[in-house]
């Protein structure tokens, strides 16, 4: 009996130790990765917003909130400096448009529209294709350069008498800018609907059949059923989607950048993400604080929006489980 207790006492710490060692070995790389590429990188980026590069001393000097004030001062003098922020926020209406389209399509799928299976596959197709290919394809479709490439979509627009004249921005006037932004927005919805449709229609397919059945017996119409039954019941999914759309603001740049790269008037189209992209390989030590400041301002605005949107959608979500 004594020997057995001794054995147990002796064995237990050994076993726990082995288990703990195993857990540590599982976690060591992911945690180091997190510390380097998330904690360190973010902390360094944020902190640089409060420093200034001292060229003579070859080091960074703490300047408090001066960089942030400077950004606001420059923007007050030259309103076009705000463009990159405002343009980044265009991601939100675009995402909302994507969501609306996804809801209608997903709803039609849930009602088993004719050809549903084929549509599902075709609509998802863009998600499998590189953004470079999609943007180039779209760009060429709408290119209008007489004697050279006249894209089919551009020809169609001209045939309809719209006076469409391609991507070139000869003068940076407001109407031209907005027209090109509209085309970019159409691209975003056109190319990203598929994945959102899947998201919405899978949420709708979880709505229990009985709920729908009773509405059908009451003779509820197509749109009324959508607005009073489907949308409230998929509110959690819509909430996640809206929070994601807010976060997409920081990462919104590839679409305008790849479509409008050579249009001539960059400042009218640049987003914060695009600005970061161009700065990535060209930034000197002295540029880092400005980049960080721009990033920090956007991060603060976006985080606030995320919290607000989360609160609102939580309130709108009916308290049901199914």
């Amino acid at each position: 009996m004594k020997a057995a207790t001794f054995n147990l006492k002796f064995k237990k710490p050994n076993k726990v130790m082995r288990r703990n060692l195993f857990i540590v070995s599982l976690l060591v790389v992911p945690i180091i990765h997190f510390l380097v590429f998330w904690v360190y990188l973010n902390a360094k980026t944020i902190s640089l917003a409060f420093f200034e590069w001292d060229f003579w001393e070859n080091t960074y000097k703490f300047v408090g909130l001066d960089n942030i004030k400077e950004q606001f001062r420059v923007a007050a003098e030259r309103p076009e400096e705000w463009n990159k922020y405002l343009n980044a926020f265009r991601a939100i209406p675009i995402n909302v448009a994507c969501l609306c389209m996804a809801i209608v399509v997903g709803y039609a799928f849930s009602k088993h529209i004719w050809g549903e299976r084929v549509f599902r596959i075709i609509f998802y197709l863009p998600s499998m294709i590189s953004i470079v290919i999609l943007t180039l394809c779209y760009r060429y479709m709408f290119t209008y350069s007489p004697g050279q490439l006249q894209g089919p979509a551009a020809e169609l627009l001209r045939m309809l008498g719209s006076g469409y004249n391609g991507w070139e921005v000869t003068s940076p006037d407001h109407a031209v800018t907005e027209r090109l932004w509209f085309l970019v927005s159409v691209f975003c919805v056109w190319a990203s609907a598929g994945i959102n449709i899947i998201l919405v229609s899978s949420a709708m397919s979880r709505i229990p059949e009985e709920v729908k059945e009773s509405a059908k017996l009451d003779g509820v119409g197509f749109w009324r059923e959508l607005f009073t039954i489907d949308i409230p019941l998929i509110m959690p999914t819509i909430g996640v989607f809206l929070v994601n759309s807010m976060m997409a603001v920081t990462a919104f740049y590839l679409q305008p950048m790849l479509i409008l790269d050579n249009t001539g008037s960059k400042s009218a189209f640049q987003t914060v993400g695009w600005y970061m992209f161009t700065k990535t390989t060209s930034a000197q030590n002295g540029d880092m604080p400005t980049i960080s400041t721009v990033g920090l301002i956007l991060t603060v605005i976006v985080s606030t929006l995320v919290i607000v949107v989360k609160k609102i959608t939580d309130k709108l979500t009916p308290d049901v489980d199914f």
């Binding site: 976690l27 990765h33 399509v105 863009p126 470079v132 997409a248 919104f252 540029d287 991060t299």
Partner: protein, 287 residues
């Protein structure tokens, strides 16, 4: 009263039919706008030169495989780009899946004091995104001498992907612990139990996630463009040709390049279509 209700039901049914027909037509138009541009590019990849393409965009007036030959033999052979893309597309999803699995196992299968903290750590990047980190990341990689190497991109993906982690966490949490206990009684170590008993149970999800990762890296543009300039991948190569379209490269040549980049993805999609659509519930703007 019941008569009114029946009337109402009939009306709703009629309304349904009309709306569904309108939607069907709209869906057909949208599907056409998705397919036609791709078909347009493929048709024109067989045109011998720009002129033939400019004036006969929708017709097969001449058929030439020259653009495809050029891609394999020219000075900017696609083979090098293909190799670069494959190195990344095969390794990145593999290491990412491995470490996500490790993290999922560590948090899902064991109970210990700091478990909550670890769980929180791996989900943080999903909820907090700081803008403007890439320039500093670029600097950091330069400082440690890893910039412009394949290995730097692989190291960057050794972390845990939030979505993958959540999925693996849920799987490991739900696998009955008697499996691993039985294996351990039979003398298997922790690693062996993990790799030979537990991981195979999640193999469908892992495969689907891996294929999605492969597609993502294959199609990626920004990361290799910024961090691997000396080793262009297919996406970067396509962009490079497009940028030089007036300087010696023709549209049909570009379209041939695009077609070759598209084909593997379309094949993968048609094989794994159902699985891919199941695991891609991430959402957001296509980017």
């Amino acid at each position: 009263m019941p008569v009114m209700k029946i009337e109402k039901r009939k009306r709703a049914k009629r309304e349904n039919r009309v709306i569904m027909s309108v939607l069907f037509v709209l869906f057909c138009i949208y599907a056409a706008t998705l397919l036609l541009p791709l078909i347009w590019m493929v048709i024109n990849s067989f045109k011998p030169d720009n002129n033939e393409f400019f004036y006969n965009q929708w017709r097969f007036t001449s058929f030439s495989l020259n653009n495809y030959k050029l891609l394999f033999t020219g000075e900017n052979s696609i083979m090098v780009m293909l190799a670069n893309t494959l190195i990344l597309a095969l390794s990145i999803p593999t290491v990412s899946a491995f470490f996500s699995l490790c993290a999922g196992h560590a948090v899902g299968s064991f109970d210990y004091k700091l478990k909550g903290v670890v769980y929180f750590i791996f989900l943080m990047p999903m909820f907090v995104s700081v803008s403007g980190t890439t320039p500093y990341l670029y600097k950091m990689l330069n400082d440690i001498g890893l910039y412009d190497t394949h290995i730097s991109l692989i190291i960057m993906s050794c972390g845990v992907s939030g979505f993958g982690f959540l999925m693996y966490y849920a799987i490991f949490k739900n696998i009955s612990r008697t499996y691993s206990e039985a294996a351990m009684v039979d003398g298997a170590g922790y690693w062996r139990t993990f790799l030979q008993i537990l991981v195979p149970q999640a193999k469908n999800i892992i495969a689907a996630q891996w294929v999605m990762g492969f597609i993502g890296v294959w199609n990626d543009f920004a990361t290799p463009y910024l961090f691997l300039p000396s080793y262009p991948t297919l996406g970067v190569g396509v962009k490079n040709i497009a940028d030089k379209i007036d300087l010696g490269h023709s549209y049909p040549e570009l379209f041939a390049n695009i077609t070759l980049m598209l084909i593997p993805m379309l094949v993968l999609f048609f094989i794994f279509q159902k699985k891919i659509m199941e695991v891609s519930l991430g959402g957001g703007i296509k980017g």
